[in-house]
Symmetry: C2
Subunit: 339 residues, 2 copies
């Protein structure tokens, strides 16, 4: 089957190219006779408009870029899904890609985004490409940061209040009487990791909990490292009575270690995690959680994006910080005071 262009349709219908275009876009005056002649020709020739040519002419692509750490991460993709649902009715579609937490990869992807002339970008940034992000903004492409912000960049973002979430998690454990609290943190080179770490540390200090350095261990945001970190905590001469784990991925590792060592929670140890609630459906007893409102993040991001895409007038950057909420379930036990 040969490639068929608007020209072929025009010839086949015996009209000019301009007329066919009018029919395609329902613009201007076309008599009903001609109109049906053209639509007939279109379906007979099985013509499909070439979106590339169209975008070129219009300098508008109806594409938005979505760059996340990892497209197989269901939390990020649930946000992407929300966005998809919001923008598809206006005939936008998404380019989605993973930077795998590698700034160099992210840089290449941003380059691609620029070349592709997307109409907007939703980005979960690594740190270290502020210049490139600024470049995208300079090209008048709206950028919406999700989950993390970037130092020195003024644009829309939507993040949750990590410091607060961590602080309150510790506060809760303290309120139950815990004084020796283990913390499995991620890394401190990302804004999220740092904020959660600091929130926890500040709370520990404020509530005068044990300042035993051995209680602070890094799980590097990975399940395996968190597993090892947990083992360390459990085998301490004086193990913690509670553990706060800074994110869900690491919590998987932590739970594995606890299961394996046949500790029970909350009887032997109290645990609390920080993240999305959906991951833990089948875990018994149900985990007490500082809940990250993923649904809400997706919805807000989608709204902002939609507005950026459709509003004529630019509006000031929308920067949203969502406070996570403590979901008290059954994984933390009260501890006799004064111990």
């Amino acid at each position: 089957m040969k490639k068929v262009t608007i020209k072929d349709v025009a010839k086949h219908a015996g009209v000019s190219i301009g007329t066919v275009s009018k029919v395609l876009n329902d613009k201007g005056y076309v008599s009903s006779g001609i109109y049906s002649r053209v639509t007939e020709a279109i379906s007979e020739l099985n013509y499909q408009v070439n979106a590339n040519a169209r975008s070129l002419k219009a300098s508008k692509t109806n594409k938005v870029g979505v760059i996340v750490q990892d497209i197989s991460n269901p939390y990020m993709m649930s946000i992407a899904k929300t966005i998809e649902d919001k923008i598809r009715p206006s005939h936008y579609h998404m380019l989605v890609m993973s930077h795998n937490e590698d700034p160099h990869t992210e840089r290449e992807l941003l380059q691609l985004i620029l070349e592709q002339r997307v109409d907007g970008l939703v980005l979960v940034p690594t740190s270290g490409n502020a210049d490139m992000i600024q470049k995208v903004l300079d090209h008048k492409i709206p950028v919406i940061l999700v989950d993390r912000k970037v130092e020195g960049i003024t644009t829309d973002y939507i993040v949750d209040d990590n410091y607060y979430g961590s602080y309150e998690s510790i506060a809760y454990l303290h309120s139950l009487g815990h004084r020796r609290i283990g913390v499995i943190y991620g890394t401190t080179n990302s804004s999220i990791g740092k904020e959660r770490y600091e929130g926890a540390v500040d709370a520990l200090k404020h509530f005068a909990c044990s300042n035993d350095e051995a209680l602070l261990v890094s799980g590097k945001f990975k399940a395996e490292d968190a597993y090892k970190a947990t083992i360390e905590l459990l085998f301490l001469p004086d193990p913690p009575t509670a553990i706060y784990c800074c994110n869900n991925t690491m919590t998987v590792g932590m739970l594995k270690a606890i299961q394996e060592q046949a500790w029970r929670f909350p009887e032997d140890i109290s645990i609390i995690s920080y993240g999305d609630v959906n991951q833990w459906e089948l875990i018994q007893p149900p985990l007490t959680l500082m809940t990250q409102p993923l649904k809400r993040i997706g919805v807000e991001a989608a709204i902002i994006l939609k507005n950026r895409l459709t509003m004529e007038e630019p509006f000031p950057p929308k920067q949203i910080v969502i406070k996570p909420e403590l979901l008290v379930r059954a994984s933390c036990a009260r501890r006799p005071e004064g111990e």
Copy 2:
């Protein structure tokens, strides 16, 4: 910042457009002096080539479409990730979208794919758009079906042997001595649902298990319906000694019901599921599973796609059927024979 085109670069560097193009594509003869003048102009003006114009000229977009049920489904997206990793080195990128199991939506997406002139398509099809898929193929766009095939369409596909997987699951339960086996199946209007259903039913018949109709219940491929289905099974006057659940999503519902009713497995009831192994990391005791080789599906799909994209000569459709493997763990118990 104004839009800057190849023309501006040419002017700024004092050369012709053609020369700039040569530099951009490293093609033809350019003296080193001119070359650096041009690259300098490019970075001074912050020029980015317009991929749309380029695609238009080349009639090649470096885009591939990826259409799945739901982009927030981690199993599908782990396949997508494998594909991404494989094709990005050759500077391809992906349009990804969800049809939500709705044929009408799928049709619209296929239309979009056609207009976008993608260079290839990876599709988890619904049933009911064979004509449209054929249209895509007619436009010389390679289509790779994943997880499901489509009646009447000759193209690459890669699926697992659902009938076999179901049959063998039942066979395994039978070999442990089970005779009253409950089956939670999905729906029978999709090829997967049908094949799994038939595999199970045929095995039940072949091994002369109980043919009590009440033991066959539909969970409609949803967790909630599977929950209800499980409750029905458990409250039967003569409940099954084992349950085979046809997919992971439904198994979530099944496990919930079992937990809630405080049945223990494998002591009170044996259970076996069909799906990807990664979902069940933390479930104790570890589930016995007919494992769907998602990794392998992704890898094979990526290889086929890559070949279709790069090979000059067309090759015959590659149709792969993968046999799932039984992973025996701890959720099934031996049953005294003859009961």
